[in-house]
Amino acid sequence: GGGGASPSSSDSGAGASGGVIKIATQSPLSGGNATLGEAIKLGAQMAVEDRAEDFKKLGFTLQLVPYDDQADPKKGVANAQMIVADPDILGVVGHLNSGVAIPSSEVYEKYSIPMVSPSNTATQVTDRGLKTVNRICARDDFQGPAGAKFAVQQLGAKKIFVIQDKTAYGQGLADAFRDAAQKLGAEIVGYEGITVGEKDFNGVLNQVKAKNPDLIYYGGTYAEGGLIVKQARDKGLNMKFMGGDALDSSSMVEIAGPAIVDTYYTSIAADVTKTDQGKQWAQRYEQKFGKKVESYSSYGYDSAMVLLKAVENAIRANGGKKPSREQVRDAVRAIQDYKGVVTEVGFDNKGDNKYAKVYVYQFEPGQYPGKQIGELTKE
């Protein structure tokens, strides 16, 4: 490891001849974002455990090293330095926040450690043209417009009120949605920001009430989104409500309660429970960790699986020996048709997932995940 406080890495892989291969995760494990961050970590952990046997057969001990970036860019960068200093680490699954992913990936790039992001939707993450940065989720400029298309064309929204949480994620998504919706002929009657961590959104909702739109679009996560739906319904605002993949959580249903009717969200994940394989996977997850599956659990799982697949490919290409980071990096980018539990993965030359699809779901009270009611591909 980066320091003597951790057990020396060279001797812990005694069981396997080829040595140790580590996969790191970086996501917030403490603080307000920890649920999501932990889902990523647990997903990756499950992947590592699932593949550990295969790697043992190849002669390697597989380990997961979780890092807590606390949603803080400075910590992310410092952790990244620790990660790159450990020669056994061949890839990173992370981050949750684009604001942390961007500076941290600058470090990964210098040391050629591939990163597979389960959840960074900001366009800049891959638009900087780094060789190491990949993501399996949809970009804001895909998900937002897809949502807009559905809202305007399928739901028939003409007047739309956009609310966002003033985070990089929320703003990116909401802006993309707004622009696309305008192009499609909808009128944006309001565009407001709220503060993450607060619980009272009546102020903004009063404005919504005055404008009386057909649909509220929310760019942000479920913690605030759930409350906004609930408080809107309390105010008698019964219009449709829509948001992005960050609403895709069982907590959303819990928080909003019966108010969740007429709530839609876009997600890159196909409904896990639709396939047997998916159902099984979800069951295993719940048994293993005693927690409900979150969307990010499966993204985390798939990201790690993709990464491990690439490592495996690189090992084989390297004649069974431990590959270099550059080899793994290129192997990740070369992945073209990996079938994960929630999404198919194939990277384009920027590191974006070509197969990223956007599915539209509708929530129903007391049920998670929602009902899949639409599917959009990138044109």
Binding site: Y67, V84, Q124, Q171
Partner: protein, 454 residues
Amino acid sequence: MKAIKWTFPFARYNPWIQALILAVYTAGVLVAWTVTGQSVLWFLLLLASLLFLYYSSLPRKVQWIWAAVVLGVILPLVASTGPAYESYMEVATQMGIYIAMAVGLNIVVGFAGLLDLGFVAFFALGAYTCAIFFSDQANQFLSVHNFPLPGGLFWLFLPLGMFIAGLFGVLLGLPVLRVKGDYLAIVTLGFGEIIRIIFNNLDKPVNITNGAIGISSVQPPELFGVRFTFPHHYYFLVLVLLAAVLYAVHRLENSRIGRAWKAVREDEIAAQAMGVPLVRTKLTAFAAGASFSGIMGVVFAAKQAFIDPTSFTMLESITILVMVILGGMGSLPGAVVGACLVTALNLQLLPQLTNWFNQLAAQGVISFPSALSPSKMQRFLFGMLLILFTLFRPKGLLPARLRRYDPKRMAELAREFRPGMAGAHSSLSSGGTLEEPESSPPSDKSVQKEGMSP
């Protein structure tokens, strides 16, 4: 005094012996480091040698040179032998940045006694100044479209960031200094939040800061054709800046301005009655503190290559305040140690500790329920440590100490300046017939100029 002797038995020895002990200690740590391979512990113990150095009675010049050699040569050299080189450099760089901020905040809170809970705003000002012009962000609102600026211009932005932050320090200070005590705390807190929120929203009507998305691809500085891409580049940059900052604060603290700060802290009314202009003194404190923060903000933006408002939250201000108070308010070495400690804890020790637990758990040595997973305990541990530190060192780790004057020398001076005080209002500065302080040979080596011992 008993307590002081207990804390620094070291200070009693003769300087040569001190130097020897220091050298042996440093060498020991270095040997241990190279033998055992990479270790955070040795890294921190090496830094600790500088603390001993500070408390030694070696002449100031020797101390500066020694520290320069340890930090500028030995540390990077030894660290570079292992794969974690850049990791150490990164941590050391962040330490340096925080030290400068803690030292700056120490001026405001420790010296001048003005509780500031929004200090990170000045850091943000410096950082955004740099980020906007060294990325293509400035193209968004300026009609000349030749941004990002070339990396060579970075060096101009250091003083610029310092100036802008200092200016805002004064602008904030002017209205705000009417309010006192903890009211000031809340006003500064408000100011910090206002700055952050504005940066978070200034993507419309004119896109200046790119809002919550942040500014990415900030171009690195360049010096003699070297592009600053690795942490060790920034390490050396921060080291130089930090030396300048520490030197400046040291000078200021022991000057008329520094004494005025402390006088204002102790008793505003008495200070005024003794001829200390209240507002100007407080404003200097605000401006000085802010500008150190601003200059480091510039460096930070370049180092991160990406800036968004989440780096400048209120929690950040509180963290810097924790460094100052934990170290010992009004104590320069305290602020330095506090900053080192908190940064090391946050960036190195706690993550390493949790990694270690995680590995043990992965190897099945111990097991945790998922709610108690060690990676989630960093904040908890940090909180515990804060409580324990304050309980066991309630005055801070290195409390401020009085400047001591040598009675013998004071007596000599008294004889020289017998107050045959007629002819009042003589100027203190006119004429230079007096010997300069340095040229009078200190009779006792341990006594610094002006009869001060360290």
